[in-house]
Symmetry: C2
Subunit: 553 residues, 2 copies
């Protein structure tokens, strides 16, 4: 398989779900941000009970739909959620032993993981800078544990660098800093930046580089303990031998850079969390609270506007049913809306039709925890430049005998991987583990492959484009920009601007109606916004009714 | 309080327990290291049952003593551990509500933390590159959880920089890399390093710096999402506003450098662990396994050599007692050995006498988790340049209502802090929290202060010097070197070289008999080494006996 440099940039970004260019979230300059009780009647602009007598139907029981239902019920609305599947959560899906993975073409896999093992095949991380979804975890009693998104003990590998031999991340990261520091120290000592800074700042910078590198007194990088040891040391006369620095030329390889900087993406930075026992603890906790508000196995077949609001057709128990409501929150993927008969106005039909979704996949395996037992790697990710990447080690049940490891999590659209059969995909996935940890590919068992484009009721992982841009720039795709210039002005996407406005009584929700695509926080915020907009409209309608009754009295 | 630059270097090192210069541990180039089953009969060079009929007395029931007892019993030795306290663990001490902290001068504090809260006042981290102590946790069923040693959301603060305003670490770390990258890019573009590298490497380096910084196409650093956001963004039309980069001059302040690089020290790197419920789960698990092999409340009063081995005097239940054995593993602190009548040979008496111990302390408070609830900080450390540092947030029971936070953990020897009364220390400690999180100092309650020099049976935290060096260099103090040139040859310390050899039937153990001072892994390895040395001697003695019986037959 061949990937362009651009593909690599994208692949690393995709590992987390979306590009740095479109992330826009909880500001953390130094302003206190409250991680609990974020949502209040005040923040929603709605009085308790203000929804009494108003009916709302919510399409889709993913995180967006569940959050909307939870808050609208609190406000007194009469709420129904129509969910196509027999479970809540949408893409928030945890696969365990016995679970079936069915594709749109009928292909079915049955997971055979051991009891207690699982894979979050959709979202698998909760960044601490996503306070709203964290607040719901707290409110609903979902117990969280640390998700280890970074470890210095995991590897990077590139067939074309270092003779294909993996490099441990502590060495790549720290030797790179060392070489950069040495070069700058050398340039500055030669006077090349004397016109740029004061003598005092120059001296401070040179002193800083000695620590930053670290460099010796002559300004040379000779390696350091930060990069690790070649030989174990311990008690008595057993001293250690430091690793020899990797030469700069090797470290300049592009795929090493990518892996090294992954952890610095805003939404990938420590501290990260995951629910104990699986990400689906969140939707199940919502579902428990909502009870029969959520109607399962009820796929939407028709979305119509009426004089009073909406009329939604759906299937249930083999029969066609209908529900009428004053308002609708539509939290279905645009991929599915495309195929659902509807009354949307022309601009909405256009963006839905023109939208393009990514097709992220994950391949996960059960195995003896060779990464822990043989390599001291506990959680974290590894990156290779060819084939399936990243490798993602479990943070669940660390130190137990067996665990589930991901080998391959990216967008397979237009990639050679996308064209492989499932058994071929498994062999590609196994190869990456073998590249990084020779001899261990054969320890991988019980693989599962989830390609979101092939999953019924999703047919895509997350939005990549809202259609053509207004100007000459790229569309407002989740990955339209790149991390290299995140401050550059973003091109306007008419499709996005349309979707964030209600189409009459219908309000769109889901991470695609937020700047935090492919994260549960985006879905959450989009729903809170929809709830607020509906509440405002309900309040206005009541005022109008009161006014007209006064006039007619 | 005033600290020299050197003090800051040391303080950061000490926060972890020892200097990078003397760390020498599990090599992780890319050689598989097994995290379990490390200790075997083979690795100890001893056959099962080889200790039958041989008596060993172990002085001190800290981690070193417990590991030695555990392994020697496995080999069939008759083992007794004499422990001065009523609990196992030594410096591995977890303080909970109701516990008393007694100083040598009689001063007593009673901890009043809420049920379930605790502070590990000794070791509080288990690095994943310390496989031996981790293997014992696994073997003994001690459940571990991730210790969050790094978070990008915590702060750095310096009264003399940035107007004293704290800086969030994601910004300090990422803006620093940005500025360094921009400077190097500028220097290279100006041709200043053209003689140093090929045209190809230069081009690659310039491209690399655009990603590393990240820099724009013109080579300028304009900030990035890695440094975080000033204004929250979210759903709909709510876009975010990136933080403005901090200027380079501010970032050049030395105390910022320290905090930023803390996480890159080999033994501070992710992934780190802690036992669920407190570090003392480890010694209690050993103690449970060892049963009445460990004699508590039995301080050693005399260490004598005999014709056959050793005779140890100790106190128990108010009476003077004695125990004889063939061998002795002496795992008491040198501070206490200094005051214990003994028969050590002259070189051992000398190093014991001349050794100098550090006096680390911790101040810990219970509080509402304002760091989590108001700042999205979960675990991790913060650093200030004046007063108590670091601040260390708990990894235990994240998301619960109240937790225990450390404000101040360093060596107070010869520091102004060392001269303060306990109430004054508490006020100093509170001030650091107030500097970093204004308004929250008053939320701190129920402080405890543990200064290890004042704790009976320790009278010091860890060894700092083994006495005068052989040459002109500094002594082999645990902190004699610095991180700036860890590859420089280390000065020989005659004291250390003495201590790692047995004095007749007496073998020394403890982290001071290792290159991993102030870590449980060092204590563990020192004991495994002592067990091995004793086993070899026992084997040799048996061979000699057999030989002589054959001769006399």
């Amino acid at each position: 398989m061949e990937f362009s440099r651009r593909d690599f940039l994208m692949r690393v970004g995709q590992a987390g779900g979306y590009s740095a260019a479109f992330v826009a979230m909880q500001g953390l300059g130094l302003m206190p941000a409250r991680a609990e009780g974020l949502v209040t009647h005040e923040s929603l602009g709605a009085a308790p009970g203000s929804g009494a007598g108003v009916k709302v139907v919510i399409l889709g029981g993913g995180i967006a739909g569940l959050v909307a239902a939870y808050e609208m019920r609190q406000l007194g609305y009469t709420v129904t959620v129509l969910e196509a599947r027999e479970r809540p959560g949408g893409r928030n899906w945890t696969v365990r032993g016995g679970d079936k993975i069915k594709f749109v073409d009928g292909t079915t896999q049955t997971c055979s993981f051991d009891e207690g093992n699982y894979q979050n095949v959709g979202p698998a991380r909760l960044p601490s800078i996503h306070p709203n979804i964290l607040a719901y975890c707290k409110k609903l009693g979902v117990q969280l544990e640390v998700e280890v998104n970074t470890t210095r003990s995991s590897f990077l590998q590139n067939d074309n660098a270092n003779g294909g031999k993996p490099v441990v991340q502590r060495q790549a990261i720290n030797d790179t800093r060392g070489h950069v520091s040495e070069l700058l120290s050398k340039a500055m000592s030669g006077g090349s930046l004397d016109s740029e800074m004061s003598k005092d700042d120059k001296d401070r910078m040179l002193a800083f580089l000695r620590l930053y590198g670290p460099l010796d007194q002559a300004g040379k990088y000779n390696g350091s303990d930060r990069s690790g040891y070649l030989e174990t040391a311990g008690a008595g006369d057993q001293t250690g031998v430091l690793s020899k620095p990797i030469d700069m030329h090797t470290l300049l390889d592009e795929s090493f850079w990518q892996g090294m900087l992954f952890e610095e993406q805003f939404d990938m930075q420590a501290t990260m969390f995951q629910p104990l026992g699986g990400m689906d603890r969140i939707p199940y906790a919502f579902a428990k609270s909502l009870g029969d508000i959520v109607q399962y196995s009820s796929p939407v077949s028709e979305i119509r506007k009426t004089a009073k609001g909406v009329k939604i057709g759906y299937m249930q128990g083999g029969s066609a049913k209908q529900i009428e409501a004053d308002y609708c929150i539509c939290a279905m993927p645009l991929t599915i809306l495309k195929k659902t008969p509807n009354d949307f106005s022309a601009p909405y039909k256009k963006v839905i039709e023109e939208s393009v979704y990514a097709n992220a996949y994950k391949v996960a395996w059960e195995s003896r925890r060779f990464w822990e037992q043989d390599y001291n790697i506990y959680g974290g990710l590894e990156f290779v430049n060819v084939g399936c990447s990243p490798i993602w080690f479990p943070s669940a049940k660390i130190f137990s005998e067996r665990g589930v490891v991901v080998s391959g999590y990216t967008d397979e659209t237009s990639s050679p991987f996308g064209k492989l059969t499932i058994p071929e995909k498994f062999e590609e996935s196994r190869k990456s583990i073998e590249r990084l940890h020779p001899g261990h590919g054969k320890e991988l068992e019980k693989p599962i492959y989830v390609g979101w484009q092939r999953i019924p009721y999703n047919e895509g992982s997350w939005i990549r484009s809202y259609g053509p841009p207004a100007g000459d720039g790229p569309g407002r795709g989740a990955r339209a920009g790149g991390p290299s210039d995140p401050t550059a002005p973003r091109p306007v996407s008419p499709g996005y601007e349309t979707l964030i406005q209600p189409d009459g009584p219908i309000f769109f929700a889901g991470c695609h109606v937020s700047h935090i695509v492919a994260w549960q926080e985006g879905a959450t915020l989009s729903s809170l916004r929809a709830v607020k907009l509906i509440s405002e409209r309900v309040k206005a309608a009541k005022l109008a009714t009161t006014a007209s009754s006064i006039v007619s009295a």
